[in-house]
């Protein structure tokens, strides 16, 4: 347990010292959401209708764009290889890195989401659901994305390929996330949607680090 916490601490320290780079995903999130009123028009009713979907799609893309930071720099400077050779379970190392990734990308998105929801004129009933879905759903984005990030480690300029691999796998998270908020906005019970989303995240928790660890190992031999 202790080494894993130190990996998380190391990744967080690296993220803090890089400063601006960490916040780029957040800036991307805010910018993408800002584009929507410009694209579809400023009518409050339309914006309120599409707000949950826009927020989730933008969060999905922001999380995906930050995935290359998960393993890439450690892979290039050799520290990923050292971590794998250290005798720690590779799945555990991967999980620690995923947790650190979520804390530096998913968590800031979660904090920014309610402010953007205000800008999009989202119905007040939906805010609790929005925060809950973001809290439950964004870890799944980091978990699933880790598989894609690990598979494309050896690929030069793997960004576009990564999106092709990861986005189809993100679809269930998007659907359950948005439908929970929609249900809450319309005064319905959001709980079944939230439970399904939670089930998805919990199922990803053991499976994704395992698959990502297999992918990391084969890109290192």
């Amino acid at each position: 347990m202790k080494p894993l916490i130190s990996i998380i601490a190391r990744d967080l320290r690296l993220a803090v010292r890089q400063g601006g780079a960490t916040l780029l995903a957040l800036v991307f999130f805010v910018l993408t959401v800002t584009l929507f009123p410009l694209g579809v028009g400023p009518e409050p009713a339309i914006l309120a209708r599409i707000a949950p979907g826009v927020l989730w799609v933008a969060a999905l893309l922001a999380a995906m764009l930050s995935l290359d930071r998960l393993f890439q720099s450690d892979f290039e400077d050799g520290s990923l290889e050292q971590l794998v050779l250290s005798g720690l379970p590779v799945g555990g190392v991967v999980l620690a890195k995923i947790i650190a990734h979520w804390m530096t990308t998913g968590f800031p998105l979660l904090l920014a989401a309610p402010f953007l929801a205000v800008l999009l004129n989202m119905n007040g009933e939906g805010f609790t659901a929005l925060m809950l879905t973001m809290l439950i759903g964004t870890p799944a984005l980091s978990l699933i994305g880790a598989i894609g990030a690990a598979l494309t480690l050896t690929v030069r300029r793997g960004g576009v390929l990564l999106s092709l691999l990861v986005l189809p796998l993100y679809i269930p998270v998007l659907i359950f996330g948005v439908s929970a908020i929609d249900a809450a906005v319309h005064g319905l019970n959001a709980k079944p949607h939230l439970l399904l989303l939670a089930a998805l995240t919990v199922a990803c928790l053991p499976l994704c680090p395992w698959a990502a660890a297999a992918a990391v190992k084969l890109s290192l031999d």
Partner: protein, 241 residues
């Protein structure tokens, strides 16, 4: 005669060549018979008219789209677990065929949808999940292409195929769920009574023709892959000598 007897490329090539000829002949015969039954013998539907004949291509394509992905996933699992050298090749060879069938299913579905539903595309649960399946095929093929070392590419692609296989039912379920929430009965469904034998027979013959065609193409692509590897090995040997 174990599974490993055919790990030897020479044994495999000899057998595959023979099976390929038979499967190719069978596919051609069944296709001619199936098309005759579907286009000439089968009656026009009393509601859908002649457009129902698109179904004789559409339905077998959609079945094959799913069948090819299952085949791909099983071959990938065999490649990862038993490291059978032909399993990688079978998985790689089946992906473009599956993508082709998926594309055919989407296009024929769209062509059928225009006269029947009045629109080329609806965000119906089935259409959407088949479209996502098509993207999964594309991702799989792109990963193969992107990694130069073919052994690494094989393993990475196998991991992706298995992750995709776990996800296909989840995606299918979530899309069904999404669809029932967002679009309550916007499309008139004409499932009607159980399918009449006059239409069932052409459908089954066409389905068998497609399957035989799949086997033919699969074996042809696997033999091509083997020959490509042999050429590469010969070139390398030539350069080092």
């Amino acid at each position: 005669m174990s599974m490993h007897y055919f790990a030897n490329p020479t044994h495999f090539t000899r057998l595959a060549g023979r099976i390929q000829q038979w499967a190719g002949g069978l596919a051609a015969g069944l296709l001619i018979a199936g098309l005759y039954l579907a286009l000439v013998v089968a009656p026009a539907d009393y509601q859908q008219g002649e457009t129902v004949r698109i179904m004789f291509v559409h339905v077998p394509s959609a079945w094959m789209a799913l069948f090819c992905y299952s085949f791909l996933a099983v071959a990938s699992a065999v490649a990862l677990i038993w490291k059978h050298p032909l399993a990688d090749m079978a998985a790689k060879a089946s992906a473009p065929i599956g993508a082709g069938f998926t594309f055919l299913a989407l296009v024929t579905g769209s062509l059928w949808g225009k006269p029947m539903w009045g629109t080329w595309w609806v965000w119906d649960a089935r259409l959407t999940s088949v479209l996502i399946l098509f993207f999964l095929y594309l991702g799989y093929m792109a990963l193969w292409q992107a990694i130069e070392d073919s052994q690494k590419a094989a393993k990475a692609a196998a991991v992706l195929a298995l992750v995709g296989a776990v996800n296909v039912p989840i995606i299918k379920f979530s899309v069904d769920w999404w669809n029932t929430l967002h679009q309550p009965a916007s499309v008139l469904r004409m499932d009607g009574p159980a399918i009449h034998p006059s239409m069932l027979w052409p459908l089954l013959v066409m389905a068998l023709a497609f399957k035989a065609y799949f086997v033919t193409l699969l074996l042809a692509r696997m033999r091509m892959e083997l020959n490509l590897r042999r050429i590469r090995a010969l070139r390398l040997a030539d350069r080092t000598s």
